[in-house]
């Protein structure tokens, strides 16, 4: 039954009024639906509650896996860490830039959230600490007056000893001391002290804006690597364990994203270096097809072929056939 075009005189005939009517009360149905849904969600909330595992903090990492924080600090300081090499929108490198051939939307807008790992995550927070602890100032000035080459040599000398190093009372104990390490051991100890105080995140984020609690980009990037992965692994939240967008514990996650998260688990996506870009483009394409399905011959006829509508309108069809 087709509605007429606006030019024809029967435009005002409401499509539904061509059919036999039954009584209905829209407002009553809506009201009862809200009441019924309210009862359902009250029961679900009362019985199942919700999980609330606190954020992973630098203080926690400093006490539970201090060597992870030391490694992160040194790779940030040397600008060899994942974020230092990331590329847009954080910096001009290309370590995490994804492309398909020459198609790389990640590079289009350039660097919009500049992040300098060494400055933002290590040196600036230590500079803030220096205001409280003047000894940090001399350590930092030794660092700042050295050449880049010397700085890298100091870091590498410390990194070479890390596999045999220990942390005792919040201080890094290296197997060998020496001048070839420069101020780096002291900077590590100061950094651990700052993390153990619980002030590291604020010292990082406060440098970049008026309200550090509102934009935690840089402090979140500090822990985004190994620290977060160890913690997520303990909570069974890693991609290979459950998919990323979910709650901690046995709670339903964003199950409506099943198609999106499924793609990450299957080839070619699961093995591709540009998996994120491939997955996003695939999902956009499939979504566009579904959105515009009314205009796509063949696909729009699938419901007819599936014939599930026979079940939905079975009473109507039965009555129609009875009348014939």
């Amino acid at each position: 039954m087709k509605q007429s075009n606006s030019a024809t005189p029967d435009r005002q005939v409401y499509a539904n009024s061509r059919f036999e009517q039954i009584p209905y009360d829209l407002v009553k149905e809506m009201t009862w639906a809200i009441v019924g849904m309210g009862a359902l969600v009250l029961i679900l909330a009362g019985v199942f509650s919700t999980p609330d595992v606190p954020m992973l903090t630098a203080k926690q990492v400093a006490s539970q896996d201090p060597m992870v924080l030391v490694n992160t600090e040194l790779s940030d300081l040397a600008s060899t860490g994942e974020i230092a090499q990331y590329g847009p929108p954080y910096n001009h490198n290309n370590g995490s830039v994804q492309a398909i051939g020459g198609f790389a939307p990640q590079t289009w807008l350039g660097v919009t959230i500049p992040v300098n790992s060494a400055q933002d995550n290590v040196l600036n927070p230590l500079q803030r600490l220096a205001a409280i602890n003047p000894a940090v100032s001399s350590t930092l000035s030794q660092w700042r007056t050295a050449s880049g080459r010397t700085q890298q040599a100091w870091i590498q000398a410390v990194q070479q000893q890390l596999p045999k190093a220990t942390i005792h009372n919040g201080r890094l104990i290296l197997p060998q001391s020496g001048t070839n390490l420069g101020p780096v051991p002291a900077m590590v100890n100061d950094y651990l002290a700052l993390a153990n105080s619980g002030l590291l995140e604020s010292a990082i984020d406060a440098h970049n804006g008026p309200a550090p609690e509102l934009d935690r980009t840089r402090s979140l990037l500090l822990l985004q690597g190994k620290a977060d992965h160890i913690y997520a692994g303990k909570l069974n939240m890693k991609g290979e364990q459950w998919g990323i967008i979910k709650e901690t514990g046995n709670y339903p996650g964003a199950v409506w994203l099943w198609f999106y998260t499924l793609l990450y688990q299957i080839p070619p996506y699961s093995t591709a270096a540009n998996a994120d870009l491939l997955v996003v483009l695939t999902v956009l394409l499939v979504t566009a097809v579904l959105v515009f399905i009314p205009f796509i011959p063949g696909l729009r006829s699938i419901p007819r072929r599936l014939r599930v509508y026979r079940l939905i309108w079975r009473n109507y069809y039965r009555e129609q056939e009875g009348q014939r």
């Binding site: 039954m1 087709k2 499509a15 539904n16 059919f19 036999e20 039954i22 209905y24 149905e29 639906a33 809200i34 019924g36 849904m37 309210g38 969600v41 679900l44 909330a45 199942f48 509650s49 919700t50 609330d52 595992v53 606190p54 954020m55 847009p88 929108p89 990640q106 807008l109 660097v111 919009t112 959230i113 509102l214 934009d215 935690r216 979140l220 990037l221 822990l223 985004q224 977060d228 997520a232 990323i244 709650e247 964003a254 199950v255 409506w256 997955v279 996003v280 579904l290 959105v291 399905i293 009314p294 011959p297 729009r300 419901p303 007819r304 014939r307 509508y309 309108w313 009473n315 109507y316």
Partner: protein, 206 residues
């Protein structure tokens, strides 16, 4: 004399969606299946999302971490959202199986999909507004996909303030506007008619 805009709008509304169509007290007899409840249940869940979310917004994003009452409202919000998506997806499947985009109803279908997509964004920003490890993990894991797609530079999952304001104001506002349009379109066109019982007899576009 220039045209009266107010009268034109009123005439247009009365012509397109007269009150008896907007608030019907009868329905065609073929509207006789539980699948017709999925839409109204989605709407009911949305009402509970807005109610519980408003309470959470009034007391601020820290409240539910420290107050048992706040935690209960967070749970109410979470389970309303789970119910919302559950019934919305059932509603979407039902409309697909009925080819409900027929006879000029394509914008109702497209608008429904837009709402689904905006709801996904609302869900994502909600996860990111939680201020707990779920939010932290989803932010650092999700940022790479946003960056790869070229939107991470202005849609920054690591920026709590941005995610929170999108979640509690911008996205709900868009959803409510889309929902209003969706409901008006449904009532303008009426409930989709049954397909011809035999698919071979149907030659027109689906």
């Amino acid at each position: 004399m220039s045209k009266n805009w107010t009268r034109s709008l009123r005439d247009r509304l009365q012509q397109e969606i007269p009150m008896e169509h907007l608030l019907p007290d009868t329905l065609p007899k073929y509207v006789d299946s539980y699948v017709y409840l999925f839409g109204v249940l989605t709407l009911a869940a949305f009402v509970w999302i807005i109610l519980s979310g408003t309470i959470l917004a009034i007391f601020g994003p820290d409240w539910w971490h420290v107050s048992p009452v706040g935690h209960f409202f967070n749970s109410l919000h979470f389970w309303s959202i789970q119910s919302f998506f559950f019934f919305m997806i059932l509603h979407l499947w039902a409309q697909f199986l009925m080819a409900a985009w027929r006879d000029g109803r394509h914008f109702t279908w497209i608008g429904g999909w837009l709402m689904f997509l905006v709801s996904i964004l609302a869900g994502l920003t909600g996860y990111l507004s939680q201020n707990n490890f779920d939010a932290q993990w989803i932010a650092v894991q999700g940022k790479d996909a946003m960056n790869a797609a070229g939107i991470g530079g202005f849609f920054n999952l690591l920026n709590f303030g941005q995610m929170y304001s999108l979640h509690i104001f911008v996205l709900p506002l868009i959803l409510i506007l889309l929902l209003g349009g969706h409901l008006l379109l449904i009532r303008k066109h009426g409930v989709v008619e049954p397909l011809p019982p035999d698919p071979k007899s149907e030659v027109r576009q689906g």
